[in-house]
């Protein structure tokens, strides 16, 4: 069985759609102030998607949390200081129905940024972000190659 369940994929898909609808809503509000109908339409999509996300069955997400905590983070994000705590908390919020999977990506990005600035201040080598270690950039010699599933999951997180 794939480590990322159908349920998680479904939720990620819904949250991506929600993010896109929100972006369009903001664009309408900004650029098409006079066209209130269009803005209302996007607001309606955002509302419906929000309801669908809220109503999504989360029973399998316990497995997902174990995966994030016990496998994904140690395997991929161990070099990003501070990522683990934030991501585990975000995953717990998702399981409790109080958060979105996209928060994991935010936690990861924030931790990456924090880590960058700390290392710069201390004069240490820059950290190698996960996306660089997965063939989107150069592979450092110490790179531990992740599983395909872990790679796919991180790619989902990093998708804007």
């Amino acid at each position: 069985m794939s480590r990322m369940s159908e349920q998680v994929r479904h939720l990620i898909g819904l949250e991506n759609l929600l993010a896109r609808a929100r972006r369009r809503q903001r664009e309408c509000e900004r650029d098409e102030g006079a066209d209130a109908t269009r803005t209302r339409r996007f607001a309606e999509v955002v509302r419906r998607l929000g309801e669908e996300i809220h109503a999504t069955d989360r029973t399998q997400l316990e497995d997902y949390l174990r995966y994030v905590e016990g496998d994904l983070i140690p395997r991929i994000l161990h070099r990003v200081e501070g990522a683990k705590e934030g991501m585990v908390e975000a995953a717990k919020r998702v399981v409790a129905g109080k958060g979105h999977l996209t928060e994991l990506r935010t936690e990861y990005s924030d931790a990456l940024e924090r880590s960058r600035s700390v290392r710069e201040r201390l004069g240490l080598d820059p950290i190698v972000p996960a996306e660089a270690r997965f063939g989107l950039g150069s592979h450092p010699p110490h790179s531990d190659r992740p599983t395909r599933e872990a790679y796919d999951l991180v790619k989902e997180f990093l998708k804007g």
Partner: protein, 142 residues
């Protein structure tokens, strides 16, 4: 879900392969609808709301899409020959490998749209915004 018709609410409707040829769907809400390989030839979709709809492989030949919102829609490989999409919003839409021969895209918003491999022969793009759109197989941007 309501029946297809003017102003119909077909949000997230599953209409894969449906035959909606010539239907009057003006101002219909088809946001996130799955219309993969559907037949919408000559359909009236003026001012329809098709945000992020899946229309890959659909036949929209001769459809009326003026001022429709097709932003972020997936139209990969769709037939849009001779459509009237004047003033339509196609920002970030996937129009790769589409047949857009003779399409009227006057004043359309094609910002960041993917037009790689699309056939734009005799298409009218006067006043269209193609900022950031990609054309051709090389991924060249406007």
């Amino acid at each position: 879900m309501t029946e297809p018709g003017p102003g119909a609410d077909l949000y997230r409707a599953r209409l894969q392969g449906a035959d909606l040829r010539g239907k009057d769907l003006r101002k219909a809400n088809l946001a996130l609808a799955n219309l993969k390989e559907a037949t919408l030839a000559d359909a009236l979709l003026t001012e329809a709301f098709l945000f992020a709809a899946i229309l890959s492989g659909a036949d929209l030949g001769g459809a009326h899409l003026a001022h429709a919102d097709l932003s972020e829609a997936d139209l990969f490989g769709a037939n849009l020959r001779g459509v009237n999409a004047s003033g339509a919003d196609l920002r970030r839409a996937n129009l790769a490998l589409c047949n857009l021969r003779g399409a009227r895209l006057k004043g359309a918003n094609l910002r960041d749209a993917n037009l790689n491999g699309a056939d734009l022969t005799d298409a009218d793009l006067e006043g269209a915004d193609v900022t950031g759109a990609s054309f051709g197989e090389t991924g060249a941007t406007a």
